[in-house]
Every structure is written in structure tokens, then in C-alpha cells.
């Protein structure tokens, strides 16, 4: 009996805590979505008008579905500044940093649609950083040879075209930079 009791406790402990807010937009939970694929079970808690719920029910997140999504989730708004999903779609700037968390997927799909993310970047999972480079408090030094690299690249191209006049102009620039390296690294 005591064993059974202990088993019950440990079973309960295994269950994750029921989240109080939608994992997507921080609204109160109204739908608990359970998906069983093969032997694997995933549970997600969402608000009623969650874009994530729409995606799970109708699959995909193509451009056309995201437009339909606007209609179904028009009530979505940032709890901190009141910016609505509708206003984002008509190009009104985001209102605060919390908007980036609330509208995470929407902003990302907008950036992809307007080709503002390099195509070589595959869209990562929810929490993976897309940003590369400095974070607050970090400084970055420019590699002083960067300008030389660009000049050398252009020089190689002009030599291929046998444009010796332009090649000479580029060589002069390279010479000036290598003789006065402080100019590139002031």
C-alpha cells in the first residue's frame, strides 16, 4: 500500500507543471493540445486564439496561411504596450521589447516574407538565436585588413578582364594602404 502511494506520488511528479499562460503569447490557457505521433506524445498549452493552435490544427505556416491567421487571431495584443497583431500587419512599428516575444513567429514570418533575413539562414527552433555578433557590453574591433581584402578581390577581377589601367589604380590604393597602415586602423 505504501509502495502504491509512493508510486502515485512519483507519477504525479513526472507530470510537468500545468502552465498558467500560453507558451506562445502569454495569455491565459484555454486549450490543452495533446498530440500522439507513433509512441511519442507532446502536450502544448495555448490560448483559444493562438497562432500556434491554428498551425497545429491546419498544419503549415505558409504566407497564405499566415494571412488567414491574421483574421482568426486579430485579437492578439501585447500585454505590455497594447500593440495589436493587426497593427503590425499594416506596418505600424512594434511598441516595446515584449512585442518581440509575444509576436515572435509573426515577426519572423514577416521578415522572411520581406526578404530581410539572409536566405542561407535556416529558420531555427523557437529559442535559437538568429542574431550573430555583438551583445550589449561587447565591443568589436574591425579587422584592419578588410579594406585590403576588398581591393585585392577587385584587383583580381580587373586582371582577369585585362583592364590594366584599373588594375594600376587599384594597386596604387593597395600600396597607399600598406605603406600607411594607420590609415585603415585609426
Amino acid at each position: 500500500m505504501a509502495d502504491d502511494y509512493e508510486n502515485n506520488i512519483s507519477d504525479e511528479e513526472k507530470l510537468p507543471d500545468r502552465p498558467l499562460e500560453c507558451s506562445e503569447c502569454k495569455k491565459p490557457i484555454s486549450v490543452r493540445y495533446t498530440e500522439i505521433i507513433g509512441g511519442h506524445c507532446t502536450r502544448t498549452s495555448m490560448c483559444a486564439d493562438c497562432p500556434e493552435l491554428y498551425r497545429r490544427l491546419h498544419g503549415t505556416s505558409t504566407r497564405s496561411s499566415s494571412i488567414t491567421q491574421t483574421e482568426t487571431t486579430a485579437g492578439l495584443a501585447c500585454g505590455n504596450c497594447g500593440t495589436t497583431l493587426e497593427s503590425l500587419y499594416v506596418g505600424i512599428p512594434v511598441g516595446c521589447s515584449v512585442c518581440y516575444e509575444v509576436f515572435d513567429d509573426v515577426l519572423l514570418s514577416e521578415m522572411i516574407a520581406s526578404q530581410k533575413i539572409p536566405s542561407r539562414i535556416t529558420i531555427p527552433k523557437k529559442s535559437t538565436p538568429i542574431h550573430i555578433g555583438r551583445a550589449p557590453g561587447e565591443s568589436q574591433e574591425m579587422n584592419p585588413s578588410l579594406r585590403l581584402l576588398a581591393l585585392n578581390e577587385a584587383l583580381n577581377e580587373t586582371l582577369k578582364k585585362e583592364d590594366y589601367e584599373q588594375a594600376a589604380w587599384l594597386r596604387d590604393q593597395i600600396k597607399a594602404l600598406t605603406e600607411h597602415p594607420e590609415k585603415t586602423n585609426e
Partner: protein
């Protein structure tokens, strides 16, 4: 700072384009956008909160060693002429005419630094450079930005980088623009072919007022297309690489013009000179287009008595607000085209056409 002092400070700024003898590279601007943690972005702030931001930022920036005697100018104490002058001076894509109380500008004595406060983002740091020193300019701006960042925390998420009011500018929030004057490529009709050949999806090319199709004064603005997903060094180096290729092509096109001695181009140069010298009134766009063609004449030795440095100065100084400030007397809006023509005649009085 009172209204008179602010006006004086804006209008008496050093002009970074003076002494720029470069025939192609007119200017470049490096911009960093930053918002302060825990505050909503300016569009959602009331005047009082905006003033708090100004107080926080200016307290630090005005005592920063890397700036030369910086001053704060509040947007509500200066007039539209001063605002237009600032936008022209820093080649800003947006005009500042609608700026109001709770918004402001920090300038220093170099004539190269501008920080706008609470216009779209809390802070928009900007440096203008007319020497072709893109990398150094970027380093200088980063130094100012990181110094301020030691005291104020910027809005940042690991996923989206530095957060901006326009989500397509988040990440590095670095915007770099290079202004190249390419009359050689444009008037020999090679520009489309060359731009296609060297095209790079990380770069966008537009006209001086942001339109990709309307090119004014043969100036192409080369800008980074992405701010997220690549480092600041990548952005600067891809701009440097693209502009170097464009410079080489423009040099080659100008040499072709010179060597081919084409009647068509000679005619364009003669007409441009005629318009500048003989017009009674002239609009800015017409003047900028004609001045650009004069550069072809200088390179081909068809025009004497002026050099690229003077043309560059004239190019920047004949824009509306700068033009008005050249004259000490007041004149009406309708009189501006005539005053522009007068100013150009005076500047070109020693120039001869030798075709």
C-alpha cells in the same frame, strides 16, 4: 540651450564634405539604432517619459570624451528650416519636420555626429564621413555606442539581437549607406548591366531619396539589406567590397568617355554647363543632375577652372536649406530657384567650356 544658440549651432556646423576631392565617393553614413531596456519604444511613450529618456541619454552623451563639445537641441525649440538643414546635412532618409516636444538631437563640433532621440527609436546614433573611411567611421560609432551602453542597458534578446521599433532593422541594428556618384555608368547606359553583374543579395541600391528607380544627380546609395543574421563586420565588408567593384567600373566608364570622345556625351556636358550658367531659376534636382555631368567634363578635360572638390561642395550646398543659409537676407519660397541659379553662377564664374 535657447533657440538662438541652437539655430547658431546647427547652421554653423562644419561641413564634412568640404575638401572632399573624390570624384565618385561623395559620402557615407553609419547608423546604429538602440532602445533602452524597460522603456516602451517612442511611439508608445508619452511626452513625460520621452523627456526622461532625453535626460538619461543626454546626461551621459554630453560628458563623453569621444565627442567634441556635444550639445543637446530639443526639437520643440527649433524651426523647420533648422530641421530640414539637419536632415540635409546628415543625408537622413527621414525628415525631421514632424518632430516635437520630447524629441531631440545631440550634435557635436565635428559636424559629423548626430544622435536623434525618441524619433522612432530611443537613440539613433549616426556619423557621416566624406573621406571614404568606412571602417574607421564604424569603429568610432561603436565606441560611442558601447560607452553609453556601459551606463544604460539596451533592449536586447539573444534571438533578435538589439531590438528596434522597425522589426526589419533589429539584430545588429546597423545601417550603412555609401553615396556614389556614377555619371560615367549612367550616361553610357552601362549601369543596369553592371549592377546586375555585381549584384549581391545583402546589398540594396537606391536613389538619394530612397527610390530604387528615381536616381537624382547620378547618385547611387549603396545600403545593407540585412541587419539580422550577420555580424557588423560582415555588413561593413560586403558594402566595402560592393562599392570597390562599383568604383572600378565607374572609373573604367569615365576613361571610356574620355578616350572615345563621344559627341553625344560632349553634347550632354555642354548642355549641362549651359543650364547651370544661363538659367535664371533652377530647381534642385535639375541642378544636381547637371553638376554630376560636369564631372564627366572635368575628367575628359572639356571643362576647366573647377575641380571635383568644388563640384562636391556645390552639390551639397545647393540643396534648399543649405542654400537658404548661404544668403544672409530673407527671401520668399518662390524666390528659391532664382537664388539657387544666382549661387551657382557665382560659384562657376571662372569655369570655361573648352569643347
Amino acid at each position: 540651450m535657447n533657440e538662438g544658440d541652437s539655430t547658431q549651432l546647427i547652421l554653423a556646423q562644419k561641413k564634412p564634405w568640404n575638401d572632399n576631392a573624390n570624384a565618385i565617393w561623395l559620402a557615407s553614413t553609419v547608423n546604429l539604432l538602440r532602445n533602452i531596456e524597460k522603456f516602451k519604444f517612442p511611439g508608445k511613450l508619452n511626452e513625460e517619459r520621452k523627456k526622461q529618456i532625453i535626460a538619461l541619454v543626454s546626461k551621459e552623451l554630453l560628458t563623453m570624451n569621444s565627442l567634441a563639445q556635444p550639445s543637446l537641441i530639443k526639437a520643440d525649440i527649433i524651426g523647420t528650416l533648422e530641421k530640414e538643414f539637419l536632415a540635409e546635412h546628415f543625408l537622413s532618409a527621414q525628415n525631421y519636420n514632424q518632430t516635437e516636444a520630447g524629441e531631440g538631437f545631440i550634435l557635436d563640433h565635428s559636424g559629423e555626429f548626430l544622435a536623434t532621440l525618441n524619433i522612432r527609436d530611443h537613440i539613433h546614433f549616426q556619423l557621416i564621413d566624406c573621406k571614404g573611411e568606412l571602417e574607421n567611421t564604424w569603429s568610432r560609432l561603436v565606441k560611442i555606442e558601447t560607452n553609453l551602453g556601459k551606463i544604460l542597458n539596451y533592449s536586447f534578446l539573444p534571438k533578435f539581437g538589439f531590438l528596434t521599433a522597425d522589426p526589419t532593422q533589429c539584430g545588429t541594428a546597423l545601417l550603412v549607406s555609401v553615396y556614389l556618384q556614377v555619371p560615367g555608368l549612367i550616361h553610357t547606359n552601362k549601369i543596369d548591366e553592371i549592377l546586375e553583374k555585381i549584384s549581391d543579395d545583402s546589398i540594396i541600391v537606391a536613389g538619394i531619396q530612397g527610390s530604387p528607380t528615381e536616381i537624382i544627380g547620378d547618385v547611387l546609395v549603396v545600403q545593407n539589406n540585412y541587419t539580422l543574421g550577420l555580424t557588423e563586420e560582415n555588413i561593413v565588408s560586403s558594402i566595402r567590397s560592393f562599392t570597390t567593384k562599383l568604383l572600378v567600373e565607374e572609373n573604367a566608364a569615365r576613361n571610356t568617355v574620355k578616350n572615345e570622345d563621344s559627341s553625344e556625351i560632349k553634347d550632354k556636358v555642354s548642355r549641362a554647363f549651359g543650364i547651370l550658367i544661363h538659367s535664371y531659376q533652377i530647381e534642385a534636382i535639375e541642378a544636381l543632375n547637371a553638376l554630376s555631368i560636369l564631372k564627366l567634363g572635368i575628367d575628359s578635360h572639356w571643362i576647366t577652372g573647377i575641380d571635383h572638390k568644388q563640384i562636391n561642395e556645390l552639390f551639397f550646398n545647393c540643396r534648399r536649406a543649405h542654400l537658404i543659409c548661404q544668403f544672409h537676407e530673407k527671401f520668399s519660397q518662390e524666390n528659391i530657384p532664382h537664388k539657387r541659379a544666382e549661387y551657382i553662377h557665382k560659384s562657376l564664374k571662372d569655369v570655361k567650356l573648352t569643347i
